[in-house]
């Protein structure tokens, strides 16, 4: 479907030996935005290719507000669908299922999100349900206790899968006292203590329109949709945003190498992260960082994957990532290998990272990475769901459509010299933070090589 308007531009790069792929400049399709009296920001983008509508909402109600009740944001988001003043849970489920519509609510680290997709003809029906969920949830006690009990069972089950839990361990290790260390899912100990009143309070304190946005993309008339949204959401009462800005507190940087060793007695492989502090989403170099990370560990032929998978067969895959929040973020390498090749694989990983700093990049590699990120960019904004989410992200992280409109220009502007600076500034050289999940009796000695070890059991 028509995700992006396309203007073909042919750029000849005569200055370099390596040709850039024909650049295709895209612009974000037109949209309008406005604020309701209660402060709710609304984005509307018409897309008439298919008779569907996608809605995304973003609310400042993420896990960073959990306090000592880790898991609360997630449970609150889930509980929005437990019934409202005018709709029982059963009625919500039956109505949505009958028309093949989806409405999902969940929390992430910084915010809670709602996403929905439905046929255009069902817009008043579904928009009303979305309004009910966001403004008039009743938090039924019986439904809550069922949800909580399922979550507790799932938390126990997650420990059977290292890849499901490793991120939580890593965030705790990296962010320490900062709220970014808060676990999204919570732990059995914290979730057990959460009550229905906690959920109600969390909702009252954090589900407020003045710091929230809703975006609607798809087959509708903007004037008509504006009326619908204004009628439905104006009654959402303005709230007081919390007085302390939790995320603005500084994130303490690690001062030495640390290793979290998580024992999983029946492990046949070691799953590990190696990481360090990263950058915030609004970092001015975000596109350049993405390009460099692409060739370090972001694609199949990346330095990491080439060395650890293609050349040595040590793992099925190795990747590096930057996760970005409002006030900080993380860099980490993720991979896994058989118990007996653990040491070899970690050493090789560190060697590849070291090579990035000592050998740097060459013109051909950089051109390749630039072509790759440009070539793979348009499908990221192909669907109405992708576009509506992008609009809420723009709101949340305070950037604008120039991210899309200037993307190619920013990619093309990355020179070897600048790439070198990016590596030196943003890719870690030391004080690595390790999380190793595996059979401790076989890998504990190895763990000691890399830093001060703290050992836990995955079942703890």
């Amino acid at each position: 479907m028509k995700g992006l308007k396309k203007i073909l531009v042919f750029i000849c790069i005569l200055a370099t030996t390596f040709t850039s792929i024909n650049a295709q400049n895209y612009t974000l399709p037109e949209y309008t935005n406005f604020k309701l009296n209660n402060g709710l920001t609304v984005y509307l983008m018409e897309q008439h290719d298919v008779p569907l509508i996608s809605v995304s909402a973003i609310i400042p109600a993420g896990a960073i507000y959990d306090g000592d009740k880790s898991g609360l944001a997630q449970l609150t988001a889930a509980a929005l669908k437990h019934g409202t003043q005018n709709y029982s849970k059963a009625k919500i489920d039956e109505t949505l299922d009958f028309i093949g519509a989806s409405v999902n609510a969940s929390a992430s680290k910084e915010f809670a999100g709602l996403s929905s997709k439905f046929a255009a003809k069902d817009k008043s029906n579904v928009m009303t349900i979305i309004k009910e969920l966001l403004i008039h949830p009743i938090f039924d006690e019986n439904e809550f206790s069922k949800e909580k009990s399922r979550l507790l069972t799932e938390l126990e089950r997650q420990k059977e899968s290292p890849s499901s839990v490793i991120r939580t361990y890593f965030d705790e290790l990296l962010y320490g006292e900062h709220v970014y260390s808060n676990s999204l899912t919570g732990t059995i100990a914290t979730v057990e203590k959460i009550t229905i009143d906690d959920v109600k309070n969390f909702y009252t304190n954090n589900y407020i329109p003045n710091n929230a946005a809703i975006s609607i993309v798809g087959d509708f008339n903007s004037n008509e949709m504006k009326k619908i949204v204004t009628t439905l959401f104006s009654s959402w009462e303005k709230g007081n945003s919390s007085s302390t800005n939790l995320v603005s507190k500084p994130i303490k940087k690690p001062t030495s190498e640390k290793v979290l060793l998580i024992n999983k007695e029946d492990a046949k492989e070691t799953t590990f992260y190696i990481g360090a502090p990263g950058v915030a989403r609004n970092n001015k170099d975000i596109v350049a960082i993405q390009v460099v990370n692409t060739l370090f560990g972001g694609r199949f032929t990346s330095m990491l994957n080439a060395e650890l998978r293609t050349n040595s067969g040590l793992t099925y895959g190795a990747r590096s990532h930057f996760t970005n929040y409002k006030n900080g973020g993380a860099f980490y390498i993720s991979t896994f290998t058989a118990n007996k090749t653990t040491e070899q694989t970690i050493d090789l990983t560190l060697e590849v990272l070291n090579r990035l700093h000592t050998n740097g990049l060459d013109e051909k590699l950089l051109t390749s990475a630039k072509n790759y990120v440009k070539g793979q960019f348009p499908p990221r904004y192909e669907t109405i769901g992708q576009l509506s989410y992008f609009l809420t992200e723009m709101f949340w992280y305070n950037f604008d459509e120039s991210f899309i409109n200037d993307f190619e220009k920013n990619v093309d502007g990355l020179t070897l010299e600048k790439a070198k600076k990016i590596i030196g500034t943003y890719f870690p050289k030391d004080k690595y933070q390790f999380v190793l999940i595996g059979k401790a009796s076989e890998i504990e000695k190895i763990a000691n090589k890399y830093g001060t070890v703290k050992r836990f059991n995955i079942k703890d």
Partner: protein, 437 residues
Amino acid sequence: MKKIMTLLFLFSSIISYAQMKAEDVKTFTLENGMKFLVVEDFSIPNANMYLFYKVGSRNEYQGITGLSHFFEHMMFNGAKKYGPKVFDQVMEFNGGANNAYTTQDLTVYTNWFPASSAEIIFDLEGDRISSLSIDPKMVESERGVVLSERRTGLENSPWRNIIESVNASAFKEHPYHWSVIGYEDDMKNWTQKDLELYFKMYYAPNNCVVVVSGAMKFERVKALAKKYLGSIPAQAAPPKIHIKEPKQTGERRITVQKDVANPYLVIGYHTPEAKHEDFYALSILNSILSSGQSSRLYSSLVDKKQLSTAVFTSYRENFDPTLFYFYTSANKDVNEVDIENAIYEELDKIKVNGITEKELQKIKNQKLMEFYGQIETINGKSNNLGTYELFFGDYKKMFEAPENFNKISIEDVQKVAKKYFKKSNRTVGVLKTNVED
């Protein structure tokens, strides 16, 4: 592509699909038998190329299990013009990305690229299909990769373990008996010769269907196909899979020990292949049982009785008769026998009382939304057209699917429930910690 807006009438039996019609798919077949389906779609400046080879774990035998999947990996490890590692380097340099997957029936290669790079993609494909070189050094490092793939799958999901056991019990003779990834000992012992024979037997242009969707004109696709793939010789058709799974005549039960917090339960009923007349009714039954929180099994097992934390069912396209699966994970302190009985109770209700008109309409509405989802992206278009062409024998069946679903009546659904959900036709698998009680 021309897009016409049509309003949907919920209860009308004729539903028009606005944005894509069978006529929008153009086809041609090269002289060597390689068939192409092409969808012109200029909504983004990208295109894709999906190559469906009719080879999967179904074509293996014990001793070379897992070879189809391993071969999928080896297709990226060097050919005549583009040597080891070069395939991916060239593709990525030109802004393209790729992946591949292997199933019981198929091996599918997927390329996603800016349309301006199309020619190099055809060249890369032509090179590896015509003259793959199987480098023994690459075979060894890639063997490590697939062993890691197998290990990490088992390490992170108990489902894989129990599903493999259910398949191995339900299929005693047919090659669906083993998993796509293969037996560990076979994986360690595939030989150079096995790979060479496999390439010769299955990687022929006449054993492949190609789908291209995106910002490319039909004529351009055709010209590139002729230039880069047209001269690859056709080969004799691969041997037919003659094994038919004998009728199951009694319930089979299998238990697997693994250290887990709460049990996992998988049940499989023998059901027919995609081309069978019961396919659509069974597919609707699948949705009735587990699609959405208002579905039969979710509302009974998870919501009302709180026996399970999650429940899914699946019934997918296969070349040969397959299984209709039930998957569920137990809630805390629940005996898996109670979950099993609760599933049978729900199946009995459908067998005895049937489903309601409203339920049937709900699923038909959901199928329509699913259809939109499937063709929302150029990748969805290619993947689904290929799926219908391969499993139903004609890509046009994709456009007829909504109508075929609409024809299904309450009685049809009840009939297939009675026909297939029999005790003697099922295999029940339980994975849990304590298997001695």
